[in-house]
């Protein structure tokens, strides 16, 4: 039976985890297995990139509270990966600037980040957002509520 969604967004997966816990592999495996069963392969592939890259960003840069909240939300025609974490104001500002560059021209940002990646630290986050925008062709948004940052990546089903 094909998946059915109401016109109201439905939370398909929601969990919180401690940014100190080494759960990324397990979370990614679970999300990929779930989305592969629920969505067509092209959509599952996009969600895999977005969920991994947003989570790793949040896990690496959480502060204050170490809770990271992950959510996969779907309506009848859109699916969204949403990741929330708390971070310091300077980091949030950097993220906002970077996001503006990535969303303005995803391909140029991806090529630029690939070039910058030569010899870069493994924890440098910038390529991840460029991958979501260019490779996965998902739209990215950032909301900020005090120290809480909510990054969302959405695509049409």
């Amino acid at each position: 039976m094909p998946p059915s969604f109401s016109s109201e967004p439905t939370s398909l997966i929601r969990f919180s985890c401690d940014s100190g816990a080494n759960l990324l592999d397990s979370i990614q495996t679970f999300v990929q297995q779930y989305t592969s069963a629920r969505f067509r392969p092209a959509i599952a592939e996009k969600i895999a990139v977005a969920s991994y890259e947003l989570l790793v960003n949040a896990l690496n840069y959480s502060s204050v509270s170490r809770d990271v909240i992950f959510e996969l939300v779907a309506s009848h025609d859109v699916v969204t990966v949403r990741v929330q974490n708390e971070t310091i104001p300077t980091r949030a500002a950097m993220l906002r600037d970077h996001l503006a560059r990535v969303t303005k021209d995803p391909e140029a940002a991806f090529m630029e980040e690939m070039g910058k990646s030569v010899g870069a630290s493994a924890r440098r986050p910038s390529l991840g957002l460029a991958r979501i925008a260019f490779e996965a062709r998902m739209s990215l948004t950032l909301e900020q509520q005090d120290q809480r940052v909510i990054m969302s990546a959405s695509t049409r089903l």
């Binding site: 592999d25 592939e45 090529m111 690939m114 990646s117 991958r131």
Partner: protein, 125 residues
């Protein structure tokens, strides 16, 4: 037996590595947060073996590598950088055998070839 064939491959969760006389293959998914500590070291040993064997071209079969994180993409960039840094007579071509049906491969290898056209070639199936 070539130096390349003598390499031992690390056992890693989620990803399978193999070596042959003319190249290496990577299959599965790379989700570990810092793959440079394991896969990256293995790729460095492949690079050194390719140099010792005097290869002019090394095949890297990634057609079954379905998911990689950004850190893994950086490893391929690093590899192209090591090769590009060599004197021209020592250089070898990194020939990536990729799959058109896997999105990350379509975008990343086109970008990698643009960054290091002297040492990267891409075959798509």
């Amino acid at each position: 037996m070539s130096k390349l064939e003598q390499l031992s491959t690390p056992e890693l969760p989620g990803v399978q590595l193999k070596v042959s006389a003319g190249g290496v293959s990577l299959a599965g998914m790379v989700t570990m947060q810092n793959p440079s500590e394991s896969i990256g070291k293995f790729l460095k040993s492949v690079h050194e073996a390719a140099l010792a064997d005097g290869l002019k071209k090394l095949d890297i079969d990634v057609t079954s590598l379905t998911f990689v994180n950004s850190s893994a993409i950086r490893m391929f960039i690093d590899w192209a950088t090591w090769t590009k840094a060599l004197a021209v007579p020592q250089r070898y071509i990194l020939n990536f055998k990729s799959s058109r049906s896997i999105t990350w491969q379509r975008t990343s290898f086109v970008a990698l070839k643009a960054l290091a056209p002297e040492v990267v070639s891409v075959e798509s199936e």
